[in-house]
């Protein structure tokens, strides 16, 4: 009888165990953009698969189509993604339209503290309304727009000599936007190693977000801001201030005087191509690409250097990066939350950084060895100290498209003045906020 009971108990436990493992073994789909860090995440997630028994499937969409594809998916209540690493600007729409699961309760239950993540990233990637303790994502990938340059060209004695003769100072990575323009102009059309080179590869893309991300990298340091008082939508005098106008005029000058011919619709890929093909001395792009650039056998290693977006009136960089959210339409939310719990662990975050992902965890960023762990790590910390982001409103797509149009019209198509472009931008944005009932 005793043995029969034992056998029954064993059978029950075995059956329960089997049930548990069967019930919990889900296939999770994680959606993100198709770029270098996504490959690192695939590698990282193998550990999660081993530990949890879940299998991971990935849906990576090229950047130019990423927003369209994913926002359509969310708007239609699609079940394609269980986890989504969505752009920071989507957080407002994700929260207000019910696309993302609110994570506060889960964080409290699992002891995940937002204090363990860099405050700028929590503010930008996780909270809605901005700055309130309402979390819809875990900071996953810190990023900002930075710069890289041909260190080997900068070091050439004849180049150094020519620059000093022209500008009376040593050629070095620029510290201000005006220095950046000076250096870019210096390289424009210059012959190096028997080939004609150009100053800088910058963002001018019209279709998605390119020119906005590029131009704001110049406009923020010049003093551009979205509102006079945060949350009040009082844009007059902020968006079109004299400093903002100067910033936009500066970006146009940089575009007109220092970019390769035909550089009218260029974003991340074109910037990387221009640099890797040896066309330009400097290029702007997201820090996310820097590990890959450094590893490039032709233009990486000793030939490449990195610098943070130069300041002017103040230090500021355009924010990139994303948080990871659980999609509200997913049938596998428990397993998705398990992934987030696993991803939030300091040991996983350390590995994430070592594989090429930009961790936002303070245990990684505050590590005394972090700044020396990669040639761009110190600049990344500097950049994240002064990041500024675009509107994160639910109507962000409308706001972004309006800015894309006004900036491209002025910078690339020579239509009107910078003042007119920014004045019209306020009109466009006012209309959007009126429609939204916020003005």
């Amino acid at each position: 009888m005793k043995s029969a009971k034992l056998l029954a108990a064993t059978a029950f436990v075995a059956a329960s165990g089997l049930n548990v493992s069967l019930a919990s073994a889900d296939e999770l789909t994680l959606c993100w953009a198709a770029w270098d860090p996504a490959n690192a995440l695939v590698e990282l997630s193998k550990e999660f698969e081993t530990q949890s028994g879940h299998t991971m499937k990935f849906e990576f969409v090229p950047w130019p189509n990423f927003a369209d594809r994913m926002l359509n998916e969310l708007n239609s209540g699609g079940k394609l993604c269980d986890l989504l690493i969505g752009d920071s600007q989507w957080i407002g729409g994700g929260a207000e339209n019910g696309h993302y699961v609110k994570l506060n309760e889960f964080f409290d239950k699992e002891g995940i503290s937002m204090d363990d993540f860099a405050p700028a990233t929590v503010y930008a990637y996780s909270t809605w309304p901005k700055g309130t303790p309402n979390y819809y994502a875990l900071p996953a990938m810190g990023d900002a727009n930075g710069w890289f340059y041909r260190k080997d060209w900068f070091a050439k004695p004849e180049i150094q000599e020519a620059f000093k003769a022209e500008h009376g100072r040593d050629l070095a990575p620029p510290k201000t936007q005006m220095e950046l323009l000076q250096v870019a102009k210096f390289f424009q059309g210059r012959e190096i190693d028997g080939q004609k080179r150009y100053g800088a590869a910058i963002f001018t893309e019209r279709g998605s977000e390119g020119i906005t991300m590029g131009a704001t990298s110049a406009m923020y340091p010049f003093g551009f801001k979205y509102e006079n008082t945060p949350g009040k939508y009082d844009m007059e005098g902020a968006v079109n201030s004299a400093d903002a106008v100067a910033g936009l005029e500066f970006y146009k000058e940089l575009y007109k005087t220092s970019t390769p011919p035909g550089y009218t619709d260029s974003y991340m890929e074109q910037s990387l191509d221009a640099f890797k093909s040896g066309q330009v001395a400097m290029a702007m792009n997201w820090f996310a690409f820097f590990p890959g650039l450094y590893a490039d056998p032709d233009t990486g290693g000793d030939k490449i250097g990195f610098f943070v977006n130069p300041g002017q009136l103040k230090e500021a960089s355009t924010l990139g990066g994303q948080g990871i959210s659980v999609v509200a339409y997913s049938d596998k939310q428990d397993a998705a939350l398990e992934y987030i719990k696993w991803f939030a662990q300091p040991s996983v975050q350390k590995k994430w950084w070592s594989l090429g992902g930009y961790s936002c965890h303070v245990s990684v960023l505050n590590d005394p060895n972090f700044a020396d762990s990669a040639p761009f790590a110190a600049d990344f910390l500097l950049a994240m100290d002064g990041v500024m982001d675009f509107w994160q409103e639910p109507a962000y797509a409308e706001l972004l498209l309006a800015m894309q149009k006004r900036l491209h019209d002025y910078v690339v198509a020579d239509k009107g003045t910078a003042q007119e472009a920014l004045d019209k931008l306020i009109e466009d944005w006012t209309e959007v906020f009126e429609d939204e009932g916020k003005l």
Binding site: D68, L71, N72, N75, G93, N97, G98, E205, R206, G207, P260, P261, G262, Y263, T264, D265, P394, A397, E398, L401, K405, H408, D409, Y410, V412, A413, D414, K415, D435
Partner: protein
Amino acid sequence: MSDTPIDRVAKATPPSVASKIRGLSDRAIAWLFVLPTIFLLLAVNIFPLIWTINLSFTNFRANRPNREVDYIGLRNYERILTDEDIWLTMQATAHFLFWTIFFQVLIGFTLAWLINRKFKGNDLWTTLIVLPMMLSPAVVGNFWTFLYQPQIGLFNYGISFLTGIDPSSFQMIGDVTLAPWSIVIVDTWMWTPFVMLICLAGLRSIPDYIYEAAEIDRASQWRQFWTITIPMVLPFLMLAVLFRGIENFKMFDLVVQLTGGGPGSITELTSINLKREAFEKWRTGYASAYAIILFVTVFGLASIYVKALNKVKER
């Protein structure tokens, strides 16, 4: 007794069919066959049209299904018709339409006229000429962005070879003046063969005896061309213009691949602008009104044109 198409179908139906299905009249059987098509038409064309008209009077946004929808009267129409930027896209579309049709008809007819003259290798030339229209517009768009590339593009080198100017001194798709022409050139390159084929069909449909009679009457080649060839090909040409006009009014893929509507909004055609409003900004009500305005415009213009075409055919 009425003489509707359905009645005519009913009359044409053999009695044996009706007799096999008891209780159903010939008329009912005819309806049975027609109903699926009518249902499909209603579901796919008529219902969406009515629904779009309804949405055009609202502030509905497809990405905010939970938001309250308000009827705002004619506000969307008023906004569109008074929006300076919309009129600029209309101008860009008109420029694109006019010049593509002009060049395609001119070159297409010339090519057809040349091909129609029997010569050795005639078939090979026809095959080579029609190749561009067999390609996907997306492929053509991508392909031409490389051709137009100021530093390595063959187009710029070709112009440089002919004129002696520096190939990297001009940008076809980045220059405000040249960009509208860059899309005209590519569309003309791709679709002239289509116009050529239609013209060729027209030319080959002219009976030889008409020319023989003209020869007997000692009509000059020039007179034969203007009094026989052109009038007899005209209905075909007008049909080609109608097809190309409708196609180019809704042009999207080729231009998106080539210029993305830029620089600025110089090449932003109405279809691109409409797509941005509907599926990027998600202003569904506004975009519905926009679509209705375009529909009425195209429908109106096409109706006038088809009447003219019928008059030409009757002559």
